[in-house]
């Protein structure tokens, strides 16, 4: 072994990772080479410092208590809420308030749909006035959820909603479990803000008034109530195929086409509890072929997510989880971790 070879193996030798034969060669060389011996001594000193003597400050005494406080009272809620409870604000909780509020209150899930896409429906006409009021109330109620006691209310509403939505069978026409309203310009607007019955909304308002969180302005309070704003399942007719999906600053946009019509779905990524699940019959099993299918799933942390075959069982219905071409498994997982269905 020459000096250059010693250089190549010196660290492995010190770390006892060098093959015995090479170690012997190196030792033989060092025995008669003063420079390499000095290099070896120096490398040993470096290693010793790296192992034992690097400066390391200590954590605060309250560290464990801080962590336990963050997780102890917030089991099974989302990371956003957890972050909001922490004593030290993490980098990702420093999102500007206006952005969080906007994402939570207004960018929940917006459908843009051309007027001629909507099939004539006398019910819609009859409900227009009421729907507009409901939609307005939904926006207001986005900011008024808080407290454990609302959960039951939300769950009941969600369970009903889930059953209805899963059982819907309208393959010949586009259906969303959403309300149709008329905007200021007189156009029909289909939102995903599902109708909140007056009694539910009133109850939410009352609970908000008595909630200790009523004065909080953070994201966990502003997060939209699940039952009033988000259907759990969007049944997308098999005739509709996704033609484009793009990551936006704060979410994703999916564009679907079918029957000569186009639909754009905006999905906010932050603070929005929601799910889009493809109907089982529309599901593809090969992720590489999933560009043609919508979309993602979101589950409660308590739900078992099978990341191998990407399926999830909700109310005894097995849903295939479909990736679009834009989302990796990791991104899907990250999405699932951000978004929650409370059951």
């Amino acid at each position: 072994m020459n000096c250059q070879q010693v250089d190549e193996h010196i660290f492995s030798y010190i770390d006892s990772k060098l093959a015995p034969s090479l170690s012997s060669d190196l030792e033989s060389h060092i025995a008669h080479c003063e420079d390499c011996r000095a290099k070896l001594d120096f490398a040993r000193m470096e290693t010793d410092i790296l192992c034992n003597e690097l400066f390391m400050p200590t954590l605060h005494d309250t560290f464990t208590a801080d962590v336990m406080a963050a997780v102890g009272n917030n089991q099974m809620i989302g990371p956003t809420e957890l972050a909001a409870t922490r004593n030290h604000r993490a980098w990702y909780t420093r999102t500007p308030f206006w952005l969080v509020a906007t994402a939570a209150a207004f960018v929940l899930l917006v459908y843009t749909i051309s007027p001629d896409f909507l099939a004539p429906d006398t019910k819609i006409a009859n409900q227009q006035s009421k729907d507009l009021k409901v939609a307005e109330r939904n926006v207001a109620s986005n900011a008024v959820i808080g407290g454990e006691t609302t959960k039951k209310l939300k769950q009941d509403s969600q369970n009903e909603s889930m059953q209805d939505e899963v059982s819907i069978d309208e393959p010949s026409s586009f259906y969303l479990p959403a309300e149709t309203a008329i905007d200021e310009t007189g156009n029909q607007v289909r939102t995903l803000a599902g109708a909140v019955p007056d009694e539910v909304n009133n109850e939410l308002m009352k609970q908000r008034q008595s909630s200790p969180d009523r004065d909080r302005n953070d994201a966990s309070v502003l997060k939209a109530p699940i039952s009033s704003t988000m259907p759990k399942v969007i049944n997308m007719p098999a005739s509709f195929e996704i033609v484009n999906s793009a990551k936006q600053t704060d979410g994703w946009t999916f564009t679907y086409e079918g029957d000569g019509k186009q639909l754009t779905v905006s999905l906010a990524s932050a603070n929005v509890p929601m799910a889009m699940i493809v109907k089982p019959e529309a599901a593809a099993t090969d992720s590489s072929a999933c560009v043609g299918a919508a979309c993602e799933y979101v589950v409660n942390k308590k739900s078992a997510v099978n990341s191998v075959n990407r399926s999830v069982v909700i109310d005894n219905v097995n849903y295939e989880l479909i990736l679009t071409g834009e989302l990796s498994v990791e991104e899907l997982q990250a999405l699932a971790e951000r978004l929650i269905i409370e059951k």
Partner: protein, 198 residues
């Protein structure tokens, strides 16, 4: 003593005291990884806290048939790197965090030589600083081998690279570290030439 893996299962079953025990067992080791990667105390403490919250939330993904330590180190590594990228790799070392040269310390088994001790302490400071200048992949492998004392398979699992590549990466990381040290050593005009420069 209850194993880490059992504590993880107990936590999943709702036993918060089990999670508290895991926090106590791992907080210093996790912090040492995070601090070396972040290079700044307050951020490191924040990220360490974030690591444990991530661990708590992702515990259902943990395979109890495997070791807990590499799993949590991986989360620590990923969380830190993610935080670093968010702040665009700007490493700020506070002045009050720069290690003080401990002239009074002695090294066991070495004869007392003021010049030698001074240079060793100087070298210690240089290494502390030089680590923060390394690319994060090099920094990580050095932390895992020398600070966490992990074997190649464990490091490979955490970094998600092959076991065979670990030795190569360690060698490159040490070389890169040495280059930074040599440069700083020369800039400080130290009396003795580093043996490694010969």
């Amino acid at each position: 003593m209850i194993s880490d893996e059992s504590l993880a299962i107990d936590t999943l079953n709702g036993d918060l005291s089990a999670f508290e025990e895991l926090v106590n067992r791992y907080k210093h080791r996790v912090f040492s990884i995070v601090y070396r990667l972040m290079g700044q105390y307050q951020e490191a403490e924040d990220v360490t806290q974030e690591v444990f919250i991530n661990v708590f939330e992702k515990l259902y993904q943990f395979d109890a048939d495997k070791k807990f330590a590499p799993w949590i180190y991986r989360i620590a590594s990923n969380t830190s790197i993610s935080a670093l990228r968010k702040k665009k790799n700007v490493i700020v070392v506070d002045f009050d965090e720069v290690p003080q040269v401990a002239y009074e310390s002695t090294i066991a088994g070495e004869s007392y030589n003021p010049q030698h001790l001074y240079e060793r302490e100087e070298l210690k400071g240089l290494i502390n600083d030089a680590i923060t200048e390394l690319p994060e992949s090099y920094r990580m492998v050095i932390i895992l081998r020398y600070q966490m004392d992990l074997d190649n398979q464990e490091i490979a699992d955490i970094l998600d690279i092959s076991k065979e590549n670990i030795e190569v990466r360690v060698h490159r990381a040490r070389k890169a570290l040495r280059q930074i040290i040599q440069k700083r050593w020369e800039e400080r005009g130290m009396a003795n030439e580093l043996p490694a420069s010969r």
